[in-house]
């Protein structure tokens, strides 16, 4: 198969470039990560992140033929050749396919992603009805791969001020949790022309999410809650 890989090594003094690579690999049943690992076995200078290789850890998000995806669950047979593999857009490139995730993590931390409940702790579990628990489905499964946030033009223009779809989905995960008591503070934290309202609802995030989650819908619910508390 034919690949075009984004290559950049900051120590080399050479500008970033696209490298053409041919790999002898049978695409049947193989994932893009298998191909990248095979390429690295031939040329160990290629750097990428990878861990679980089954789509649950979120390490190997890359931009493939213009779309963000996880290399480990993207079948080679679905890709048009030459397969163009680039680092995630909108984040600084450290080397090759490895980006600096810190702007993404900073926005995640900014929504205070932990359950707040200052009531006395019972010696057993806090109760939650299956219906209340179902509100978390589609929100808690996020793997922080950044496919969504780095496909969002609003995040490209405002990485410092716009929380981005992943962070907002996580904000909603806690707002929706019947055990969490900090809804008002969480809404205050987002009621801002940039942090929340830079979302223009173009739904790139939904298209990009490898876990099939819907950040745009969660953002809509947050906006609805803000409207509701106004009136």
């Amino acid at each position: 198969m034919k690949f075009r890989l984004y290559r950049y090594n900051p120590e080399s003094g050479v500008q970033p470039r696209m490298q053409d690579v041919e790999l002898d690999i049978d695409p049947a049943g193989r994932m893009l990560l298998d191909a990248l690992i095979a390429i690295k076995a031939q040329d160990e200078t290629l750097s990428l992140r990878r861990s679980c290789r089954e789509g649950v850890c979120g390490s190997d998000a890359v931009n493939v033929n213009g779309r963000n995806c996880l290399a480990c669950i993207t079948p080679l047979s679905t890709l048009k050749e030459p397969v163009e593999v680039r680092p995630l857009p909108g984040l600084p490139v450290i080397r090759d396919l490895v980006v600096d995730m810190e702007p993404f993590y900073r926005q995640y931390r900014s929504i205070r992603p932990w359950l707040v409940n200052d009531e006395p702790e019972p010696e057993v579990e806090r109760l939650q009805s299956p219906a209340d628990r179902a509100l978390l489905d589609g929100a808690y499964e996020c793997i922080l791969c950044a496919c969504c946030t780095t496909s969002c033009p609003s995040f490209w223009w405002h990485p410092d001020t716009f929380v981005g779809p992943a962070g907002l989905l996580q904000a909603y995960r806690f707002i929706a949790d019947s055990r969490d008591e900090a809804t008002a503070a969480r809404l205050d934290n987002l009621e801002d022309p940039y942090r929340l309202y830079r979302c223009r609802g173009i739904m790139n995030c939904v298209d990009a999410c490898p876990k099939g989650l819907n950040p745009t819908e969660a953002i809509g619910r947050i906006k609805a809650l803000l409207v509701k508390r106004r009136v």
């Binding site: 090594n9 900051p10 120590e11 080399s12 049943g29 690295k40 076995a41 160990e44 200078t45 750097s47 990428l48 992140r49 990878r50 861990s51 679980c52 290789r53 089954e54 789509g55 649950v56 850890c57 979120g58 390490s59 669950i73 079948p75 450290i94 080397r95 090759d96 490895v98 995730m101 993590y105 931390r109 205070r112 992603p113 932990w114 359950l115 409940n117 702790e121 019972p122 010696e123 057993v124 579990e125 806090r126 109760l127 939650q128 009805s129 299956p130 209340d132 628990r133 978390l136 808690y140 499964e141 793997i143 922080l144 806690f174 949790d177 055990r179 969490d180």
Partner: protein
Amino acid sequence: MNVRRFDALIVGGGGAGLRAALQLARSDYKVAVVSKVFPTRSHTVSAQGGITAALGNVDDDRWEWHFYDTVKGGDWLGDQDAIEFMCREAPSAVYELEHMGLPFSRLDNGRIYQRPFGGQSKNFGGEQATRTCAAADRTGHALLHTLYQQNLAARTQFFDEYFALDLVRDAEGYCLGVTALSIETGEPLLIEARATLLATGGGGRAFGNSSNALINTGDGLGMVLRAGLPLQDMEFWQFHPTGIAGVGCLITEGVRGEGGYLLNKQGERFMDRYAPHARDLAGRDVVARAIAIEIAEGRGCGPRGDYIDLKLDHLGEAAIAAKLPGIRDLSIRFAGVDPAHAPIPVAPTAHYMMGGIPTNLHGQVVAPARFGPEEPVPGLYAVGECACVSVHGANRLGGNSLLDLVVFGRAAGRHMLDYLRDNPYPRSMPDDAADASAARLARWERPGSERVAAISDDLRRTMQAHCSVFRTDISLRQGLAQLDALEARLAHAGLRDTSRVFNTARIEALELDNLVGVARATLVSAIHRTESRGAHTREDFPERDDERWLRHTLYARAEDQVDTKPVRLKPLTVESVKPKARVY
């Protein structure tokens, strides 16, 4: 070398490390977590089915029954004091996770959802118990993210994408911290701490067919071996019965807990022959052997007869979507099969390392010394899959690994607080503290003809061929000879890429050093143990031999020395479970 100083240091950002870190971060002490990946990329994230605790939410339950099942599941090799401690602490450890925000699935009455899992019984070997607490089939993901979030709230200091190189110890054996490498910059770093906890996970990537993440290279085990400390029970590796055939990705035991079952090519529920009572929910070692035998005797499915069918379509699409959504997703992606309509092709896959760094139930690393076989190494702790406390004995029960992480993570955190209080002053750092690490880094600057990737591949092939579900003396010795040859090649290996910034080739070379140590410890220990117990099946010694082998193996790197120590058969408060035949 740059130096950073903390009170306590955690190496590894998975469930065990983060639980311990949380205990320390909530105190006044300064704690740092070093992890070679961003913490939520750790392998805990892949755990699916659940965490076992006798909450009794669905059915009557008692921790004593969980204790009995764990002793029996481990084929009596587990230390009964540690097992009692874990099963007793289990409910409080799970409730605590719930309070932290873990999104457990719920029963209609609002309590935590529990499902049946293999090897779990009521009344000391009676009816199937329903004991494993679950967040759909993403329990590990939910647990890891929750613990990471709590650590963010507690302002734990994280060193993300730093690769730990070696332990630093002084002449009296105190652990004073570790050396590490920043993956992003390639700069080495010395991190000093009065107490250090290893929570580096398993080394399942020593096998060709593995359910493990690519990062599971036994790094903490390599560090311990290089420090001259022993590893315990390394011959015991769990082969999970249901990995996706040819890929290795895990299909949780929860599938069988929810009512799925295994079929051979004749459409027979063959587990009826191997475990008439527990059937598909027998111990994992029992089911894995049964599948391996079915395949070996020509009753495997598919054109090559190399897998077994796992049928669950009878559960119905709605139940699968609600309880096993992740499994459905994995199966569609990696096997091309929607389990709501067709069986999943499965075969045994290397899954879990029961052995590891010997510790007591406070997580303190213990080693033979002047006063006996279990002297604590001052300032050094280990928890989780890298440790051997030993609660899993010769075979781990499903749902007990996440439990191990949080129970012993918490216990180690508590003990480290006591240790820090009793040892308030840092000991002086020897001048040569970082020399060994510097030498290892320098070694990988030298050119060489052999390639790291090729040696790694051959290592995995060797372990898969010679040290898998069934073992014999001849085959194990052939494997060890091949490993000798691989190590000779490793001496001539070099990197083509010696750049600094995010050089993952260098990291993979350093990981290979650790993986070789894991493989050697495994092979030598497996040759030594001339019996079959739990997951260690010797075709040339098919029986369990309590007379000679109701003992833990201790492997030390110097001259491949093997020693043993007795199993702790006395629990803390309850009656000991006496060894008897293990039938399901």
